[in-house]
């Protein structure tokens, strides 16, 4: 009986501490809110590890080809809203879609028009920087790394309370 009570007390104490800690941490769902600006598109890895002079940067031309059929095509500023709306704007165009997070907050799902859905791996998500990876379908060097900088935090009324 004494052992059972000890087990139960330890469990309750642990659970209380766990949820108290969890409530103090901002979730990825709140960290992603706001406006993000695309800073760079790069190849995640070089073809040949001996190729020291390999240029990881992706040119605008290749970038345009890779993204041609994607929802994110020509997007430069990504605005994540608390209502799960995603507004993407470029030099000459803008479009709206929906966003959701999956897994432990490490997968960004973007849904566009006509049931088009794309998944991006969130490699890094800090208050000021976001790095997304995705597998390009084209015969280019596999994973593309997109880096963003936060240019505007979410409005107070937009912030999600976990």
């Amino acid at each position: 009986m004494k052992t059972s009570m000890l087990y139960l007390a330890a469990f309750l104490l642990f659970a209380a501490a766990y949820f108290a800690l969890l409530s103090t941490q901002p979730s990825p769902q709140s960290r992603i809110l706001g406006d993000w600006k695309e800073v760079s598109w790069e190849y995640e890895k070089a073809d040949n590890p001996d190729d020291g002079g390999f240029d990881f940067r992706i040119t605008d031309h290749i970038k345009s080809q890779i993204a041609e059929n994607l929802i994110i095509h020509q997007a430069e500023i990504w605005s994540f809203g608390a209502d799960e709306s995603l507004h993407m704007s470029g030099k000459n165009n803008s479009k709206s879609s929906r966003w959701k997070l999956k897994g432990r907050g490490n997968v960004l799902k973007i849904s566009g028009a006509e049931d088009q859905t794309e998944h991006y791996k969130i490699q890094e998500l800090t208050p000021s920087r976001m790095v997304l990876h995705f597998n390009s379908d084209m015969q280019v060097r596999g994973i593309v790394k997109m880096t963003f900088e936060k240019i505007r935090p979410p409005h107070h009324d937009q912030e999600i309370q976990r």
Binding site: L21, Q29, K100, K102, G103, N106, V107, R162
Partner: protein
Amino acid sequence: MIKRYRDRTNRENIQLGALTAFSAGMVNVVSVIIFFAFTSNVTGHYAILAEEISKGNWYEVLVVGGWILLFFLGNFTSNLAVINLNKSNAYLAHSLPIILEILCLLAVGTYIQFYYRETLFETELMVSLMLFAMGLQNGLTATVSNAAVKTTHLTGLTTDLGILASMFTKKEYRERPELRDKMRLLLSIMVSYVTGGVCAGLIYLRVEYNVFYIVCLFLLVVIGYDFYRIEVANFLSKKQPYYRKTLKNQAA
């Protein structure tokens, strides 16, 4: 199938291992498709936990740590039921973890069907419930089979298979029946797990979240089989003196 015998036969272990591994494979693949998270293998979660700690992502550390703890809690609950209820009601002791697992999976399936809005909080909660369910199942199968069957522990299974395969290069080991039995058991678990995963992937395209109900049906077969055997054995021992004598002789 889930009753704890002092001397379980390899056939019983294969039946138990194959059915539960099939359902574990299904659950794992469906969770990856819907939630982008594994729910029946914990080794990967330990690696992710270490990665998130190194990155300083404390929210993710707590989420993944919580998932691992729920798998632990599933194993704990399963064995707790067996060791506490075994004397008073052996069938209940062994079927309770599977009943709890069915309830967890039914809850997940029903929630997805009617309420799921794909928020991160919901995803984390569903994955938690599924990891707890897989812990329950793994704990029970390991307990009743004297640790011979671990349906979601494919790392250990592949290790054992590799070791056995190398042992079978020598005739003296190849001819030992217990090692051949073990090889059959491990292969049946591996094939069932993969088959379950493939089936879930294919079925999901047609029936979506209903996969969870199909998994529950498989688990019902596991507990139903034992119930049937116990009822038949009871009936025969009460009504048929010849069978009672035979059963008595078998027990001896």
